[in-house]
């Protein structure tokens, strides 16, 4: 018996896969799963309905699922792991400005020591011919500028670090 906690949007499911039986929240399901190809295309059959899903495993237990023109993110944790830490993931640090997408740093508007207000534009990033203004996540003082104009950055790269104002 293996239990999986699955979060889809704001809904949680307890899926129990035991040999070739499947239970959701303790209730046995008459579902059948068929792998349609080697690229993670899955067919889920119920008695009279079915659904084709493409599963893309992202980091760790996250899957991006594409089905019927929609794309949904699902988190899967196996029973043991889930029992240990119930959603203990730390929120993104408030004092860090991270790149929301891969791209080119078009402009850096601040330097270390500058006082900034929450919402103030710190960096301009360009990606896929779009320019986006990236704003301070909090008010404070610039502790560190981690990139220079013209730099190519990955998604999630640290751009600017702030610290609370001292007064």
């Amino acid at each position: 018996m293996t239990i999986y906690h699955v979060q889809v949007g704001n809904r949680n499911f307890l899926v129990d896969i035991t040999e070739n039986q499947l239970f959701i929240d303790g209730i046995k399901q008459q579902a059948r799963l068929i792998q349609l190809n080697a690229n993670d295309l899955i067919l889920l059959c119920w008695e009279r309905t079915s659904r084709v899903l493409h599963l893309q495993r992202q980091d760790g237990q996250t899957y991006a699922v594409t089905t019927e023109g929609r794309r949904v993110i699902a988190q899967v944790e196996s029973g043991q792991a889930a029992a240990g830490k119930r959603r203990a993931a730390a929120p993104a640090a408030e004092n860090q400005l991270l790149a929301p997408m891969p791209g080119l740093v078009a402009a850096v508007k601040v330097q270390p020591g500058d006082a900034v207000e929450k919402g103030q534009v710190l960096v301009t990033e360009e990606s896929m011919k779009m320019q986006m203004e990236l704003r301070a996540p909090m008010s404070g003082v610039v502790a560190r500028v981690a990139i220079q104009p013209g730099a190519q950055v990955e998604k999630g790269a640290l751009l600017v670090e702030l610290q609370p104002a001292e007064n």
Binding site: V8, F13, A31, L33, A38, D40, R57, Y63, R71
Partner: protein, 495 residues
């Protein structure tokens, strides 16, 4: 005529298709990351022109001319974006003795200067929004003394493709918006000059497709409506425009024809207008090139605009007459973009791991996708265009809806669901939209049947289970890889 296509992505494929159908040999150019791109291996020959940054590859005039020289290309098609509106490029192509598949350098010099284009349009008798014909000076406070009504648009003189435009709601915002527009324009066009234009509230975007031979023979191939825009980028376009009547259409065509005649216009072009709630037309600009949304015009009229460009260049005359232009039905295009609706539509990257393209009656798909294609952040996020034709607007919408549901792209987030939500909105289906529609549009919360999330939970739990405890029966390692790849294992859970 050997044609070099100085572009990439779906428009390069579009142009290569037209050339192939006409039996013309083709040359593609590509940047380093595009060695694996579909356009690179769809042409007869392909030449590397530089590294990823467009400034060093797709905007690299000497490298492109050298590629043409090396391959013996006799004509250059610039597509849209990149160098397509660049008068210097056009001039350099023509000075190298090659055919530029677009307007003359003089036309491009004029259309590239929004103030000059305004002036030309005014002189040709087109309705122009009020404002001076000179750029805004450094001191924006000065202009505040003059008669200026807010909100006001700050527009880059060298602008294009919706870039270098900002909206200032109040005198307080003006400085900030002017400087933002200047900066974006400087980065994009190398020219930070801007001017102010009154905002037409709740306007619709209507444009006229023009084809002209440069000697005064001008055809208007119908109008398009492109009011569904996000961040000034068109997202959904259609032809004809909703609720168009013949007198307004005649007026549009008359304006477009007069401007094309005044410019001795050659090749394809689009004259863009705003249509105010009061029914007044206002000229915006002229786009001197093939447009992203040209397929809706092609489907309604049964014409091939790129082939028309090529034939015009080869034969010197328009390949058809006004009598050949017999519009039928309605066409709507939706742009499928690599972007993440869950994160404010920021551009997304990845690989095309799964691809199922819609088909059947009335559906055209223009794309450069293939299974496995990497989607990088180097260029724009347009993955594909889906164009649906129907006998009337509801029929076209029904087909577009159906084909957006059929379109399956795995491996990169897209706007497919958002597009469906837009075309299902009552405002869109009833034609009550203007260019601000998407500013406030909130897709309705999906009333998911319980089965939706449940199915996803089952499928992902199953996939995780497979990863942890792969089926022990066929021994997994080494050759099992082939079994997986070729035979596609099948695992069943049943009662």
């Amino acid at each position: 005529m050997k044609v070099l296509v100085a572009n990439r992505g779906e428009i390069a494929i579009r142009i290569l298709r037209a050339c192939r159908e006409m039996g013309l040999p083709t040359v593609a150019v590509y940047s380093e990351p595009d060695r694996e791109a579909l356009h690179t291996h769809s042409a007869d020959e392909a030449v590397l022109i530089g590294p990823a940054p467009a400034s060093q590859s797709y905007l690299n005039i000497p490298a492109i001319l050298q590629a043409a020289h090396k391959t013996g290309a006799q004509a250059v098609h610039p597509g849209y974006g990149f160098l397509s509106e660049n008068a210097d490029f056009c001039r350099a192509v023509e000075e190298a003795g090659l055919v530029f598949l677009g307007p003359s350098p003089e036309t491009l010099a004029l259309t590239g200067d929004k103030l000059a284009a305004r002036k030309a349009a005014r002189e040709a008798g087109l309705p122009i929004l009020p404002g001076p014909d000179v750029p805004l000076g450094e001191d924006t406070q000065e202009i505040l003394g003059a008669e200026i009504h807010f909100p006001v648009l700050v527009k880059a003189i060298a602008g294009g493709g919706g870039r270098g435009i900002r909206l200032a709601h109040s005198p307080q915002e003006l400085d900030q918006m002017v400087s933002a527009a200047r900066q974006e324009a400087l980065a994009a066009f190398g020219d930070g000059s801007v001017y102010l234009e009154p905002l037409v509230q709740n306007a619709r975007h209507i444009e006229v497709q023009v084809l002209a031979d440069g000697r005064g023979n001008i055809l208007c191939l119908g109008e398009r409506e492109c009011s569904i825009q996000r961040r000034r980028q068109k997202l959904i376009e259609e032809s004809p425009a909703f609720g168009m009547n013949s007198s307004l259409r005649e007026l549009l065509f008359d304006h477009a024809t007069r401007l094309a005649r005044a410019l001795h216009y050659r090749s394809l072009g689009t004259v863009e207008f705003l249509l105010g709630k009061d029914g007044q037309l206002h000229f915006i600009e002229i786009n001197p090139r093939i447009q992203v949304e040209h397929p809706v015009t092609e489907m309604v009229n049964g014409l091939d605009l790129v082939q028309a460009q090529l034939q015009l260049a080869m034969e010197g005359t328009l390949p058809f007459t006004r009598a050949d232009v017999q519009p039928r039905g309605w066409a709507i295009e939706a742009r499928v973009l690599a972007e993440d609706p869950g994160q404010g539509f920021i551009p997304a990257t990845g690989s095309i791991l799964h691809l199922q393209v819609p088909g059947g009656p009335g559906i055209r798909v223009d794309s450069a996708l293939y299974p496995g294609m990497p989607v990088t952040a180097d260029y724009d996020s347009l993955l594909a265009k889906v164009i649906a034709w129907g006998t009337d607007r509801p029929a076209a919408i029904a087909r577009l809806r159906r084909s957006l549901q059929e379109f399956q792209i795995g491996g990169v987030p897209t706007d497919l669901e958002f597009l469906s939500q837009v075309i299902d909105s009552p405002a869109f289906t009833s034609g009550r939209v203007d260019t601000t529609f998407l500013d406030t549009f909130q897709p309705p919360a999906r009333a998911d049947d319980d089965s939706f999330a449940r199915d996803i939970a089952i499928a992902t739990a199953f996939a995780a289970h497979q990863r942890r405890s792969p089926d022990p029966r066929p021994s997994r390692p080494a050759q099992a890889l082939d079994a997986w790849k070729l035979a596609a294992w099948r695992e069943q859970i049943h009662h």
